[in-house]
């Protein structure tokens, strides 16, 4: 009697053990199937795509950039290392035509971009694959606050780039460029990466909303019309005074002399 009871109890324990195995197995199968269905396929595809871009980017890099930046982008005496500069720096430099450099000098000048969008993206993917760095920023002008952007621009940018983004001279032949030809994305990239001698303003210095605001202000101030007539480069009182002294006052003098001679 007791033995049969014990037998039943042992069988129940075994059954419960089997059931827990079955549950565990089912859970594992479900998890595995879900993972197999959802995760790896997309991942595999994007990795392949990415590695293709990285590969094409490396080829482009080795034909056009490696002479100065080194075969592994480690930098040489002529040019800085590109490890860790991120996609944003590559996109800024190449899309604004500053790189490849036309000739060595105090500063790279903006010119026509030498590569198309796909090639720039490939180079950016290659450099970004070397080490983590700033991504190409997503600029949303609608998110920007024009007034905040103006305040931030005048405090942090206008000392070099002028209050209207007209640029200005720096030391030893370097200069802060005019912002009129820069696209909103390029302005944001310059803020984030600090090209050449420009200081860097990272995400903890300016958040994305603040960068959007600055970009919105730059877009506004460089594309606004000139209700006063000639803008004279928007450099403020210096060219304006020069025009008054060289054109305006002599014109008045000539008129006065003419009236005096005719009287």
């Amino acid at each position: 009697m007791t033995s049969t009871a014990a037998g039943f109890a042992a069988a129940g324990r075994r059954r419960r053990k089997l059931a827990s195995y079955a549950v565990l197995l089912t859970a594992l199968v479900v998890l595995g199937v879900t993972y197999a269905v959802l995760a790896p396929r997309g991942h595999a595809a994007s990795t392949a795509e990415e590695s293709f871009a990285v590969q094409k980017g490396r080829e482009l890099f080795q034909t056009s950039c490696a002479t100065c930046h080194g075969i592994n982008a480690q930098g040489t005496q002529e040019a800085p290392s590109l490890i860790g500069v991120g996609a944003a720096a590559v996109d800024f430099q190449v899309s604004s035509g500053r790189m490849p450099l036309a000739r060595p000098g105090p500063q790279a000048d903006r010119k026509e971009a030498k590569y198309d969008r796909a090639q720039i993206d490939q180079m950016a993917a290659y450099v970004a694959s070397l080490a983590p760095g700033p991504q190409i920023p997503q600029v949303d002008l609608a998110d920007g606050d024009l007034q905040l952007g103006g305040n931030l621009f005048r405090t942090n940018c206008a000392s070099c780039h002028n209050f209207a983004g007209s640029g200005g001279a720096l030391t030893y032949g370097k200069y802060a460029p005019r912002l009129t030809p820069a696209t909103p994305v390029q302005v944001a990239e310059a803020i984030r990466t600090g090209p050449e001698n420009m200081p860097v303003f990272g995400p903890s210095t300016f958040d994305d909303h603040q960068v959007n605001s600055i970009v919105k202000y730059v877009d506004y101030v460089t594309r606004s019309k000139n209700p006063g007539g000639l803008a004279l480069g928007k450099f403020g009182p210096v060219p304006e005074g020069l025009v008054i002294a060289v054109v305006g006052i002599p014109a008045l003098l000539a008129m006065t002399l003419w009236i005096g001679a005719r009287a």
């Binding site: 942090n156 070099c160 720096l170 600090g194 200081p199 990272g202 209700p227 007539g229 005719r262």
Partner: protein
């Protein structure tokens, strides 16, 4: 005989223009030089023509003034042509009135040269004598020449009256010795948080390498605190070469310097993160940030003052001490 003599005398002087006494010396306009049109501008028809010309000028002026109003109301103020058009309309309007007035005077009014004789500038001998007599009488009556005590005390009083000007002049600026405390006191106190213009305190890690921020003491950006702006810069490890005795003034590569140029007080904030030049836009004074902001070019003679940095227990940047030297442009008693 006498006729011959006078003729010879005239030819000897060589004076061919035969100026009459009282002539202004200016050659009279020959009548034919008055206008290139010559006799055409006399007569009733020419007069009518001139009248129409002047009236046309005034009419153009009126039209331009009306055009000004039209532009003012009809054109949107944001239009590129708005301000230039207003200017052109106003200029044409004023110019029309001016040209009309000149033409009126030249074409319609009779052209006659009028000479106004100046009256003699000197006083009559009687007046001169009378004035001299008044002076002599005054000298005599006051005894200015005789009474030495009065004369010297009067001159002395006039001299000492000039003395109060001296302290007034010295009060025009800050007195170099007595009242110079305001030049030498720092707007930063020990423990002041470094805040952005919006008042947000700056934490360690907020700046990237090569980053710069303009900071103020505890959010005080008031204009009366105009010497307070300071720049916080993050250098890469090992780049900073501090002045001896200031090795502890940096925090993890972060350094802080006054943004006010030591030459003329402009904000010198044009920072180049690769060359570490800090440029003042007013007179091109250049400071080297990695070498305690010593001047390397331009008229500034002193380094930018350095603010000792520290961290509070929440990780925010604070002033480790006040500025140790006077901020802003140089002055003669600055040490």
């Amino acid at each position: 005989m006498s006729t011959h003599d006078s003729a010879g005398g005239e030819s000897l002087t060589g004076n061919t223009s035969a100026s009459a006494p009282g002539d202004t010396g200016r050659p009279a306009n020959p009548p034919s030089a008055k206008s290139p049109t010559g006799p055409e501008d006399v007569g009733p028809r020419a007069d009518k023509r001139s009248e129409r010309l002047v009236a046309t000028c005034f009419g153009v002026s009126s039209l331009a003034a009306i055009a000004f109003l039209v532009v003012f109301w009809a054109l949107p103020k944001t239009d590129v042509a708005y301000t230039p058009l207003l200017g052109v309309c106003l200029a044409v309007s004023l110019f029309g009135v001016g040209v009309g007035a000149i033409l009126w005077a030249k074409k319609i009014m009779p052209d006659e040269e009028a000479v106004q004789e100046r009256h003699p500038m000197y006083s009559t001998p009687e007046d001169a004598a009378k004035t001299a007599a008044v002076f002599a009488e005054g000298t005599e009556k006051t005894g200015f020449a005789r009474r030495r005590l009065l004369r010297y005390s009067f001159l002395g009083a006039m001299g000492t009256l000039a003395l109060p000007i001296v302290p007034i002049i010295s009060d025009l600026g800050v007195h170099p010795r007595g009242n110079a405390r305001q030049l030498k006191t720092s707007p930063w106190k020990k423990g002041d948080r470094l805040t952005t213009e919006e008042g947000a305190p700056v934490r360690i890690g907020d700046l990237e390498y090569g980053g710069i921020l303009t900071v103020f003491p505890n959010g005080n950006t008031s204009p009366s605190n105009s010497l307070a702006p300071t720049v916080l810069i993050r250098l890469r490890a090992g780049e900073n070469q501090p002045r001896p005795g200031r090795e502890t003034w940096e925090v993890d590569g972060h350094v802080a310097y006054s943004a006010i140029c030591t030459h003329a007080g402009c904000p010198a904030k044009l920072y180049e993160q690769q060359t570490h030049h800090m440029l003042c836009p007013c007179h091109q004074s250049t400071f080297l940030v990695t070498e305690h902001c010593r001047p390397i070019f331009g008229p500034a003679a002193r380094p930018l003052p350095q603010l000792p940095l520290a961290l509070d227990n929440e990780g925010f940047f604070v002033a480790g001490a006040a500025y140790q030297e006077p901020l802003g442009p140089s002055f003669w008693e600055r040490s």
